[in-house]
């Protein structure tokens, strides 16, 4: 199994292939389109990530001490961003996620290329993933 560092480096490599941000959006849109299988029944208010302008739902289950995330959004780029995040952090242990600094997001230039409201949304997504990991870490 790949380490968290290896997966993050793969994402950074993927992003470095694109020169223009329009291409990077196209990549995020593809990621968003591929993210499927989030049940309508789980689109409940308690799973909404607070602080995002578009609606983003995040769900999590534990298997063998590892966290597996599932997510959806009504905006496709936002969905691509959450897909990117859960693609990196799904299958990791709570302590791995809780101790990670999420700095790869800055390495790919994601945050500064979003509008301020979307950047806040990204911060909220990261905070929710971390909080979820911390919650399961305590249990």
């Amino acid at each position: 199994m790949k380490t968290l560092e290896e997966i993050k480096n793969e994402v950074i490599d993927d992003f470095s292939m694109f020169d223009e941000w329009l291409d990077k959006y196209e990549y995020l849109i593809e990621l968003g389109k591929k993210l499927e299988g989030y049940p309508e029944s789980a689109k409940t208010d308690d799973k909404l990530i607070k602080g995002c302008q578009s609606r983003v739902w995040l769900d999590c289950k534990v298997e063998d001490g590892r966290l597996f995330f599932n997510a959806d959004s009504d905006a496709i780029i936002t969905k691509g961003i959450i897909s990117l995040l859960i693609g990196v952090y799904s299958g990791r242990t709570p302590s791995e996620i809780a101790e990670d600094d999420f700095s790869f997001v800055e390495n790919i230039g994601l945050k500064e290329n979003l509008s301020p409201t979307r950047a806040n949304g990204l911060v909220s997504m990261i905070a929710t993933i971390k909080a979820t990991a911390e919650k399961y870490g305590r249990e």
Binding site: W21, L22, Y25, E26, Q53, D74, I77, T78
Partner: protein
Amino acid sequence: MKVDSVRKHFPILETKVYGKPLVYLDNAASIQRPQSVVDKWNALTTSGNANIHRAVHYLSSIATDEYENARDRVRAFLNAKSREEIIFTSGTTASINLVAYSFGEAFVHEGDEIIVAESEHHSDIVPWQLMCGRKGAILKVLPIDDCGRLMVETLPELISERTKLLAVAQISNVLGLINPVKEIVSICHSMGCKVLVDGAQGVVHGGMDVQDSDCDFYAFSGHKIYAATGTGVLYGKKELLDQMPPYMGGGEMIHTVRFSGTTFAPLPEKFEAGTQNFNAQPTLIPALDMAEMLEDQELQAYSKEVKSFVYKALTEDPDIVLYGTSDDLSKKIALFSFSVRGVHHEDLALIMDKMGIALRSGQMCAEPLMDHFGVTGMLRASFAPYNTMEEAEYFIASLHKAIDMLR
């Protein structure tokens, strides 16, 4: 007058964003400022900066003259009867809050009613809700139909003998439809109800003759009509303003202050407490000059072509839903709020930003209107007289490209 010569007055339009020419279509949020406005602010800051009305020294008298000249300029622009009816504020929101508070204190009692239109901006809803909460009054709603048209025909039934005031936008910031203000005022007055007109969007699209329309209050922001931000105006009929208590207490608005009681300055200072935005309000002079210059017939004919082109392109596309439609395009300004089936408005705004196009997306400070149309948000393109046909064509082509990317 050609559009190219207009653009020369607005240096920011030369900006490149992400290496592409800026196409600024968020004019309804804030319109760009001409060099003459920038120069006025610079001149006052660098060589006319002093607090107004308080000192006898040279700089203070320059600053005071500029500030009061701006008041005269606004009076002429609105065709108000007297300069005492022109109150400077920080913008439309401040103007409406002033009326909601002071008119409420003077005239509204428990069980009285206030009416707002369903299509109002939050700034023309929330101040009235707050006032109704304070006074025990009831807030009623003038509805719109599915084209976005105000259902003015319901007014005679909606207004009762307890209705004290109706607040309505001259033009909705979402629908871009020109509301029949004169007709509304006439119905309201015949039933003893006063009218506040929110001119935030309307002021730059034809302005307002306050005597001809006979509205009781008119509010607008400077930054939506080429002036510096933080400037704004409240017009009010003198006989009403005279009966209304001050909104804020402080310097400038007083006559004498004793611990036994304070008397207030006459209009307009009664409503201008504290240090005013004296470097910025005078920018209303070149700003209103610019607005009047752009009334030019040749330019207006060109802008009308741009408007028709965009309206046609958006209404003919079966995937696009345009909000605020009219068979008569003279009743709609070049402001287009729309949604695209199956595509989120924010995704479109984000991608089109990278194409150099500045749009607005979201609820546009009009949640009740979003609820009416059953959407969580819209995308809005709002044009100014300096926008070209080439920009309009690029906007439509880019929109289709962005839709293709997202589908």
